[in-house]
């Protein structure tokens, strides 16, 4: 597969990368990290040249100050969870940050286990924590939450957003999850066969309708759809809950089980009730 | 360990004379008050080591070939000298003495015959000569098994791995091999004498050990030492 990609991310932004299986997402992250060498190319981070094939410049990965959560975790099997987390810290750096991440990722009870004694999701959280404790300038995440249930997924999404807000790192997130794109990313790049096929803000890339400025758009997925009398009864996963919607029959053709959708409300009609 | 190692005599000794050398060493130490260290090895190995500067003072070889070689290469100012003549025996663990007969070696119930490797051991060469002279060689050639040294040949014989074998009289008579089967001496007319020679190795003029080395070398040829050699079956 040949790849040809031009991309620029403002410092401190959150970019999602998406695209079908084999599109080149992992390859792109590995090239940014310096783990794969593109035949030709230039990578500049923060006015520092990481790669310039025409001038033979190549900065090795260990100098780049990045965090990377690999699709297959790549945890160190001979180290415990806490040792995996501490591995990347400069010696003498205080461990409070390690403890904090263990707590925030609900890993404290597992601190002294080895990766082989962890469940899939637990391993994935260790991989994420390991990348974060170093407080990198650039965080590369290759489907970092794919093995997690939705509660854990949401709480880690929030944690990531918080951290990004606090520390201001640039974040590149590979995900297949539309909800995650909308929630996590300011812009999204769609890859296919090693080429960018679309890019922009999530709403631009996945537009269905021009949204009025004074509206609220929610992301949802179809769970059950039934025809009832004169309307459709839709059970959907919206805002972290199963909700029931009534829709006009003409939506029938457009909706199927599992399908993602947006739901836009004109908020003038909203009733707000303080708690 | 108590006397200074630099003053200890180091006597390189061919394996097959080591039993005798222990007695000689004891005698010499008693007589001279010097410490002697016996370094045992095969004659070939010791020769190679001496050529490369091994810190030995006297080399007591199993034959004359190796000391001659050293002398030729300039390892000594004095030509080697024969200190004893070895005697060859036919030896078996299981066969009785009457059975140790030349003609029986051809028989089918004798499967294997051990001789020391003629290429490296003088007793092997002597055994070979005897076998040729008696005309047995063609008949028993395929039965031959070659021991690396006289000692290894003795192991073949005493372990019963071979039915019979050639060896040195000094070995058969040694205390370790007492009552290990039966032996008979070989007619000395059947092989050239096994001349075992020693050589005094070169020392620098100011060497602390020069005098004592010479003393030891001389001692080998003294009546006292020759008596010991005879006791072990040398002539």
């Amino acid at each position: 597969m040949s790849m040809a990609i031009a991309l620029s991310i403002p410092k401190g932004e959150r970019l999602a990368i998406t695209g079908p299986s084999g599109a080149g997402k992992t390859t792109l992250l590995r090239q940014i990290a310096g783990l794969s060498h593109p035949q030709r190319g230039t990578i500049i981070q923060n006015s520092q040249v990481w790669l310039d094939s025409s001038q033979g410049i190549f900065m090795p990965p260990q100098k780049r100050n990045i965090g990377f959560v690999f699709q297959d975790y790549a945890l160190f099997p001979h180290l415990t969870v806490i040792q995996n987390l501490s591995y990347g810290l400069p010696k003498g750096k205080p461990t409070p940050i390690v403890d904090r991440f263990l707590r925030r990722m609900e890993l404290s009870a597992l601190a002294h286990r080895r990766p082989s004694q962890l469940s899939g999701g637990q391993q994935q959280r260790v991989a994420l924590a390991r990348a974060l404790v170093r407080e990198p300038e650039l965080l590369l995440l290759d489907e970092p939450l794919s093995a997690l249930d939705s509660d854990m997924r949401h709480s880690l999404q929030n944690l990531l957003l918080e951290l990004q807000h606090e520390q201001g790192f640039t974040m590149i997130l590979v995900t297949h999850h539309l909800g995650e794109i909308f929630k996590m990313a300011q812009s999204v790049v769609q890859l296919n066969h090693g080429q960018i096929t679309a890019s922009g803000s999530p709403v631009e890339v996945y537009p269905k309708r021009a949204l009025p400025a004074d509206s609220l758009t929610l992301y949802g997925e179809v769970l059950i759809i039934e025809i009832q009398d004169d309307h459709l009864r839709l059970l959907a996963w919206i805002d972290h809950q199963v909700r029931e919607l009534k829709l006009p029959l003409e939506y029938r053709a457009q909706l199927q089980l599992g399908q993602a959708f947006t739901l836009t409300y004109q908020h003038q009609q909203a009733v707000l009730a303080p708690l | 360990a108590c006397s200074k190692p630099s003053e200890e005599l180091m006597i390189a000794t061919a394996a097959n004379v080591q039993y005798v050398m222990n007695d000689i060493k004891a005698e010499f130490e008693k007589e001279s008050g010097k410490k002697v260290q016996i370094i045992v090895g095969s004659s070939g190995k010791l020769t190679a080591q001496i050529r490369e500067g091994a810190p030995f003072d006297v080399f007591v070889s199993a034959d004359t070939k190796y000391p001659e070689e050293i002398y030729k290469q300039g390892g000594s100012d004095r030509a080697p000298q024969v200190y004893a003549r070895g005697a060859l025996v036919l030896w078996s663990k299981n066969l009785p003495t009457e059975g140790l007969d030349w003609n029986r070696l051809k028989e089918d119930n004798i499967h294997k015959i051990a001789i020391p490797n003629p290429q490296t051991a003088p007793y092997g060469e002597a055994a070979l000569q005897a076998l040729e002279k008696t005309g047995l060689m063609p008949a028993i050639k395929t039965k031959l098994v070659y021991g690396e040294s006289i000692a290894q040949t003795a192991q073949y014989i005493t372990s019963g791995s071979v039915d019979v074998g050639f060896n040195a009289l000094s070995i058969v008579l040694s205390s370790n091999m007492k009552d290990q089967g039966h032996f008979t001496p070989i007619d000395t007319a059947l092989y050239a004498p096994i001349q075992q020679a020693a050589i005094l190795l070169r020392h620098s003029e100011n060497s602390l050990k020069k005098a004592s080395s010479e003393a030891f070398y001389e001692f080998l040829y003294s009546e006292r030492a020759q008596q010991i050699f005879r006791k072990y079956g040398y002539r």
Binding site: - | G44, Q119, V145, Q152, S161, V162
Partner: protein, 223 residues
């Protein structure tokens, strides 16, 4: 003039020994890696023991055991009709015993490094332990197998203490190249020893070079 027979004997001995050991050592290595038993450390330590005794001493003990006047040697002779002293089969048996650790240890380490999940997968796909061993465990321990084979082969080529003792240095039967070289050195025939050594060295080098080149080519394809 150089005699080629010892060289031929050497490579015959090394090949047969290595191949026999491969068959003997892999089950043993498997058992050590995966077997369920208490005395693992004991067995592992025992396997290394042939190495700690001088070869000629091992040879000596084997000579005693193999000798027809010892019950073991007598038993072997009566059952298999083979006399192990001063015979080529005896050299093979002795080499196999002596080189056992060179084969067992690396293979054991290699087998142990194969992820358990691959073994699980194979079981799930309906294959029993034996098929799993041959089709999954062995192919995934290739570098370790190669190491074991090369160490065993090269060591058998060079070994002479055991072989000299138990073989009796019989031309054409048990006089292998290492023994021949040893003899020439002992007899101070250095130029002949050099010739033998060069040829042995050269042939062995070509064999190992071939083995490693093929292996590296294969590895490259798979990376």
């Amino acid at each position: 003039m150089m005699d080629w027979q010892p060289l031929w004997l050497t490579f015959k001995l090394a090949s047969i020994t290595s191949i026999m050991l491969l068959f003997l050592a892999t089950p043993l290595a498997y058992w050590l890696a995966f077997g369920r038993f208490k005395a693992r450390g004991l067995v592992e330590a025992l396997i290394g023991m042939p190495l700690v005794l001088p070869p000629s001493v091992i040879g000596f003990y084997l000579l005693l055991a193999f000798s027809p006047s010892h019950w073991f040697g007598a038993w072997i002779e009566s059952v298999f009709g083979i006399r192990l002293v001063f015979s080529f089969p005896g050299l093979i048996v002795a080499s196999v015993i002596y080189s056992l650790p060179f084969m067992v240890y690396p293979i054991r380490a290699g087998l142990q490094a194969v992820p358990q999940s691959l073994v699980d997968s194979s079981y799930i796909l309906g294959k029993g332990p034996i098929e799993t061993f041959f089709r999954i465990l062995l192919p995934n321990s290739k570098p370790a197998l190669l190491t074991a084979f090369v160490l065993t082969f090269a060591h058998t080529v060079g070994e002479f203490g055991v072989v000299l003792m138990i073989g009796g240095n019989i031309p054409g039967v048990t006089k292998v190249a290492s023994v021949a070289i040893y003899n020439e050195v002992e007899a101070l025939n250095y130029s002949m020893a050099n010739q033998y050594a060069m040829v042995l060295f050269f042939i062995s080098f070509i064999i190992l070079l071939f083995v490693y080149s093929v292996n590296n080519r294969l590895l490259r394809v798979r990376k």
